[in-house]
Every structure is written in C-alpha cells, then in structure tokens.
C-alpha cells in the first residue's frame, strides 16, 4: 500500500517536471528575439544587450531551464516583459481568483449534476427524465463563453440581477460560475444516471427490495453510495478541467483570473506571464488529478484490497 503511494508520488513529480520542460521548450520556440521583446521596441542596443545578459540567452537551453526551475520553486517566476515587475505575487493572486471561481462552479456541478442524475435514474421513463436528459445534452453542447454572453444579456443588462463583469462580492460569482458549470452539470448528470441505474439493477439492491426496505433507504443508502465511486472521479476531474477551461469565461466576465491573464499576455507577447501562468495552472490540474486518483483508490474497497 505504501509502495503504491510512493510510486504514484514519483510519477506525480515526473509529470510536473515534464510539464515545466514542455512549457519552457514551447516558450523558447516562439519566434522573435527574446532580448528585444523583453527590453521593448523602443530600447537601445545597449539595453537589449543588457537584457540578453540578464536572461542568460547566450547560455545553453538546459542551463537556462535549470535556472528557471531553481527560481520557480522559490516563487520567482521572472519579470513581465510589459510591466517589468516580478510576476510571482500577481500569478498567485490571479490563481486564487480562478481557484475560487472553479470551486464555486464545482459546487454547482455537484448539486445540480447529482440531483439531475438521481432524478433521471429513479424514474427513467417519465417526462422529467426526458427533459433533464435534453438539458444535459444541451449543457455539453453549448459554448461556455456564449452562455456567459447570453446570461449577461438577460440577467444583467436586461434584468439587472447580477453584475456583468468583475469580481466583487458573492453575486459576481453567479453568472461566471453558471457559464463554466453547465458543461460539468451535463457530464455529471449523465454519469450519475448511468451509474445509479446500473447499481439499481444489481443483486444486492434486489435483496434490499426483497427485505422490504423503504425506497428512500434503498436508493440513497445503498445504491447511491456505490454508484458515487465513478461519479466522484468525474467530479474531481471536472474541478481540474474547470480551472483550465475557465479561460474564455474569465475573458467574457473580465474575471481577474489566471486564465485571462495568460490570454492577454499572449496578445502582448509577454512570455514570462504565459510561461508562469501555464505552469501554475497545469501543475494545479496535475496535482488535482493525483488527489482524485488517491481518493478513488481509497473510496473503492475493491481496489484497496488488491
């Protein structure tokens, strides 16, 4: 058991390092002279040369990577080529904003996704189930940024119930979180319905019926608990996915998150921000998947006892 955890941790570390390598390589493949881009178009040749030294551009790639990694683990992700300020603190603040949005969205995904899935599985033939299934299909087919625009149009501009942009107070979370969450709701609802419907057909449930247990106990205490195992995996993966895919929604709602900062930085060719942001978001995704993996192993006794 301990050996498995250690092996998994080693794999996690390898994946994280691989992630930084890929991002670092990609950023160094961007066309253009980094020294010139960092110093600015108006800079003199002297300043460009000084920047070249500062960025260690004459040293081999591997050496630059080592310096980058050594700095990164200490929280130093370099300086923005636009503001010339260190970006470490700002990356953290923006990452926190994205994380909060992802958390809020995940709560929505859990509540609505599970509720919809259970409702469909309990009464599969009814019109409610049909309607909810259609809603799930629409949920996974709608572009999240378009949904954001529609929500702003209807609930913010027309009705004034929620703020259109920015992050200020709980009500500003609602529209962005709904936009991001709808896809996850659709996926979770389907997953829950399938898992629960299958669980309800198994032998141990039939035994519970035969024993005369009340319907509520059978569904919630027995079937749902076991059906939740694959669902929890999906939910955990959704949380990581939400962090990455919130980029477009952050742009729509001018949310001060990391995804939007990366998107802006690409337009400005501010590579240190793109690099730092991608690594932080990617690493969050990897670590989240790792935790989900551990939980999944812990939750499913069949795996544990192997």
């Amino acid at each position: 058991m301990l050996g498995a955890v250690v092996r998994r941790l080693a794999r996690l570390l390898a994946t994280l390092i691989g992630l930084t390598v890929i991002v670092f390589l990609l950023m160094n493949l961007v066309p253009g002279d980094p020294a010139r881009l960092a110093a600015g178009m108006a800079a003199s040749q002297e300043m460009v040369d000084k920047m070249r030294e500062e960025l260690r551009l004459d040293q081999p790639l591997a050496v630059r990577y080592m310096h980058f990694l050594a700095n990164a683990v200490r929280g130093d992700l370099g300086r923005s080529w636009v503001s010339h300020q260190p970006i470490g603190r700002e990356v953290f603040n923006r990452w926190a904003a994205t994380l909060q949005l992802a958390l809020f969205s995940t709560v929505l995904v859990c509540v609505f996704g599970l509720a919809m899935g259970v409702a469909c599985a309990i009464r599969p033939g009814g019109w409610l189930a049909g309607g909810l299934r259609m809603l799930s299909t629409i949920g996974v087919s709608v572009a999240s940024f378009w949904l954001g625009l529609v929500l702003i149009l209807t609930l913010s501009v027309r009705l004034g119930w929620f703020p259109s942009i920015g992050k200020a107070g709980l009500s500003s979370f609602v529209l962005p979180a709904l936009s991001v969450a709808l896809y996850g709701v659709g996926v979770t609802a389907r997953q829950t319905e399938t898992a629960l419907a299958e669980a309800l057909l198994s032998n141990y449930i039939r035994t519970a019926w035969a024993k005369g247990l009340p319907q509520r106990a059978v569904i919630f205490k027995h079937a749902l608990k076991n059906a939740l195992i694959p669902v929890v995996t999906v939910l955990g993966l959704q949380f990581g996915y939400l962090m990455g895919s919130s980029v477009v929604v952050e742009v729509v709602f001018a949310w001060p998150g990391l995804g939007r900062w990366i998107a802006e930085a690409i337009a400005y060719r501010d590579l240190p921000v793109v690099q730092g942001g991608l690594i932080v978001l990617g690493a969050t995704f990897v670590v989240l998947n790792f935790i989900v993996d551990l939980c999944y192993t812990w939750l499913d006794p069949r795996i544990r006892l192997h």
């Binding site: 961007v30 996974v140 378009w146 529609v150 980029v247 990366i262 690409i266």
Partner: protein, 271 residues
Amino acid sequence: MRKTGRLKLLLGGGVLVLYALVACLAPLVTAHGPYAQDLRQALRGPGKDHWLGTDELGRDVFSRVIYGARISPAIAVAAVAFALVAGTAIGCISGYFQGGLLEWVINGFIDLMLSFPPILLAIAMMAVVGAGAVNLALAIGLVSVPAFGRLARGMTLVMVEKEFVEAARAVGQRPYKILVRHILPNIAAPLIVEASLRTGASVLMAAGLSFLGVGPPPPAPEWGSMLSSSRAYLAVAPYLSLAPGLAITLLVIGFNWVGEGVVESRRVPLS
C-alpha cells in the same frame, strides 16, 4: 434504448447533413456576401432585408453565420481526422509492441499530454505557431491525439490476446499486416464514435480559441470571433450575440447525437 438511439442517430445525422448542405450552397441561400460592408446600415436589427440584422460594419449577419458553416466545421473535422489517424497509429503500435523503450516513451508522452487541460495546451501551441485556421486545426488535432491513442492502445492490448491474432503470428504474418488486416477492423467502431464526440468538442474549442483571437483573422466569418466582436455592442445590438452561438450549439448537438446514437442503438437491451 435502441429506439432512442436510432432516433438520435437520425436527427443528429440530419443536422450534420443540413450544415454540410448549407455550407456548400451558401451563395444560393444568402442574398448578401459575408464581407460586403454598408456602413449606412450598420447595427440594424433583424428585418426584411437582413434577416438577422447587420453588424458594426453593416455586414449581413445571416450571411456571415451561413458562411461561417464553412469554417468552424472544417477546422474541427480536420483536427479530429488528424488526431484519429495519428492517435490510432500511435496507440496500436504502443499496444502491439509491448514492453520496450518505444512503448514507454509513447505512454509517457500520452500521459503527459493528458495531464494538461486541453484548451491551455492548445493556447500554448497557438502562442508558438501564431494565429490562423490551419494552425488552429493543427493545435486542436495535437491536443486530441492522446485520447485516441489511449483508446486505441487499450483495445489493441485486448485484441493482441485473441486467438486469431496468435494464429496470424504463428503463420508468420508481418506485424504491419496483422495490425491493419486483423486488429484495425475490430477496434474501428469505438474509435469512430469517439471521433464524432470529439468533433463536437473540437467545434467548441475552435470557437473558443477564435473568441480569444487566435483563430482565422478578421474579416473571416468565424462564429467564435463574431461572438467576440459582438461583446462591444451587447447593449445596443444583442441579436449579434445570439445567432452565431445558436449555430455552434446546434452543430455540436448534431455531432454528439450521432456519437451517442451509434452507441445506444447497438446496446443489447437488458431483460
């Protein structure tokens, strides 16, 4: 279950055929071109002359939405076609030639790519290669390769144990022939289903990336970038934000229904 499956397949297929027809027959369906500007008619609402109104440069929104059907689906289909071929090849090779440096490298690479949120990886690639339709298709395709690779590999691993493969090997057939003649036809169906579902997701990704500005540059009538420009006029011209989004949604529903329809119509009903 099978009935709804067949219905989904039919409806979804119908939607896709509709989009294909519209894309091909665009000049016949639209009265104006997608690029024709008329600044005196800018930002007018839906009316007789312009069924869906005009945008900020006086261009007919209906025409631009229709012509957009030539762009986003093409990018998505190209991306998935690439991912299907490349991913299947990589997955089959990895699954067939087990236990070697090649398999270890391929698996490690697939796992690494899967550990990135797809849209971020695509954004990173676009930052390197620059904007444009072809680059977008390439980036989305690359991002989708691991999913097909994993699926193909999993199924190849199962197929390799089967007796007819063993028999083929015993007779001395070359690995390439075995893969193509025996294994490939048996693993094709789930791969095709995954391709259909992926194409839907790729349409969403292409629209999203175009929305962020890394897709086909203006004045191309790409739905995502149309939605991006509509943001500035949300209060005065809300209709600009509706049509392209609906076009995207319906197309993705079409692809999803085809994929799900195939799965559901084949499932053996439980007694």
